[in-house]
């Protein structure tokens, strides 16, 4: 059976510490000009509904846990797309005393989209590249190479307060 996840990839967008340049380009993808809903893409704003995590901006000591929290709340299969050079490597903020670097310092990143700011075309391209990975994960999940996990355990392992994750 084919994997329908590539026909209905729902995204969640998180602004780690972007200058808003990349954010506005992510939102541009939803406008009539680019209209990513053509591909079934929906901007959900809810990690529990999302398949793709789009992160703009570098991570810092303050939002590191938020990023991990969002990631751990998403159901498998899921991928992470780092948008813009800040999210990829830290970009011009790399040297700042509070910046840890790219998003891959705290969670695994699957696709890096270059640019400052990343153009809507390349963001869509990055998401489409990610779909192939998503489909692979889906078949791995089906084959039982268990990526399924107990949320409570993940929450504990990553030292996240359970009440914040919405667990009881």
């Amino acid at each position: 059976m084919m994997s329908y996840i590539t026909k209905s990839p729902w995204i969640i967008h998180y602004d780690a510490s972007s200058c808003n340049g990349c954010d506005i380009e992510v939102l541009a993808c939803l406008t009539p000009l680019y209209d990513v809903e053509r591909f079934g893409i929906i901007n959900t704003g809810n990690p529990k509904h999302a398949d793709i995590l789009l992160i703009t901006g570098s991570v810092n000591e303050q939002n590191k846990e938020v990023v991990q929290n969002i990631y751990s709340q998403m159901a498998e299969p899921k991928i992470v797309v780092a948008i813009g050079i800040c999210a990829s490597s830290g970009g011009i903020f790399r040297e700042c005393y509070n910046v840890m670097g790219g998003v891959d310092k705290v969670i695994p990143v699957d696709v890096y989209v270059p640019g400052c700011a990343a153009r809507p075309e390349s963001i869509i391209d990055g998401v489409v590249k990610g779909l192939a990975i998503l489909a692979e994960r889906q078949s791995a999940l089906k084959a039982g190479k268990s990526m399924a996990r107990d949320v409570r355990q993940t929450a504990k392992a990553e030292n996240i307060d359970e009440s914040e994750v919405g667990l009881q």
Binding site: K7, W10, D35, A148, V151
Partner: protein
């Protein structure tokens, strides 16, 4: 005969409902000068949800959502097999009680707010549904859908006798479709306000069950509006298409209102238009 209708409803309703929702999304997109998703998109979404990992947030939420789905199926089965209208109204309400419970079980304030707003929506809709059943009883002398349709075919023109009740049901149709301006508890769009309200903590297959229940519910409400035109199905179909188009138009051109306005305005419509309609019927009829 009855069993055939139940089976037909159970099998066909999600497909028809899915196509209607797919069309709905395309028309919405066109109104916003976008291209929009393929017409089969609702099916892709639901199949995908069932292929996703099952994240259980507790032992009870999945059960509540399943009960919501099952009770919606029961509601539809009663209605489409020509059963009792009052039973339809109460089964529909019970289904929503389980949905509210599903929202309340999660330890998330977004989910709780969604659940409370769902209760407010039930509160706005329920008086109208009961009046709807009463109105058909007054006109046809029976609560049974089969008899009501029979009388309609034999010549009682419900839409002529009950225009106020029809308007009232059309008004709460927006609430039932989870469309703007009354999409308080959650929206059928991928909006983000209060994250996703009552569905915030549902994911994967649980959300899939919720979506399927919604498709069935759309068909039930369309059916309930349809029996106003029991004697003239073609006119009924045209009115349903027009009404749905109007709903999409209103959805695209209004912003979400506060809950006070939703409850007050729907009670006002019910009290002024639907109730007066029934009153006039029992005085002059």
């Amino acid at each position: 005969m009855n069993l055939t209708w139940i089976v037909l409803f159970l099998i066909l309703a999600p497909f028809v409902g899915g196509l209607i929702c797919g069309l709905d999304r395309i028309v919405t997109a066109r109104m916003q000068r976008r291209v929009g998703p393929p017409i089969l998109q609702p099916f892709f979404d639901i199949i995908k949800l069932f292929q996703k990992e099952r994240l259980r947030i507790n032992g009870i939420q999945g059960f509540c959502v399943l009960s919501y789905l099952v009770l919606i199926l029961v509601t539809g089965a009663i209605f489409f097999s020509g059963g009792d209208l009052l039973l339809v109204v109460f089964a529909l309400m019970l289904a929503h009680v389980f949905l509210v419970l599903a929202g309340e079980t999660a330890n998330s304030s977004y989910s709780h707010i969604g659940a409370q707003r769902e209760l407010l929506q039930v509160m706005s809709v329920e008086p109208m549904l009961i009046l709807y059943a009463v109105a058909f009883y007054i006109v046809s002398g029976s609560f049974t859908v089969a008899t009501i349709i029979e009388h309609g075919i034999l010549g009682i023109s419900y839409i002529w006798l009950l225009p106020g009740v029809f308007l009232g049901i059309a008004y709460i149709f927006t609430i039932k479709l989870r469309k703007s301006p009354f999409d308080l508890s959650t929206s059928h769009h991928g909006h983000q306000e209060l994250v996703k309200g009552i569905t915030t903590e549902m994911s994967g297959p649980t959300l899939g069950m919720y979506e399927i229940a919604h498709l069935y519910e759309v068909i039930i409400i369309l059916g309930m509006i349809g029996i106003f035109f029991a004697g003239n199905p073609l006119l009924g179909l045209c009115v349903l298409v027009l009404l749905y188009f109007l709903e999409v138009f209103v959805d695209c051109s209004t912003a979400r209102v506060k809950w006070q306005l939703m409850v007050q305005s729907s009670w006002l419509v019910i009290g002024l238009i639907a109730f007066v309609n029934i009153l006039a019927l029992s005085v002059f009829g």
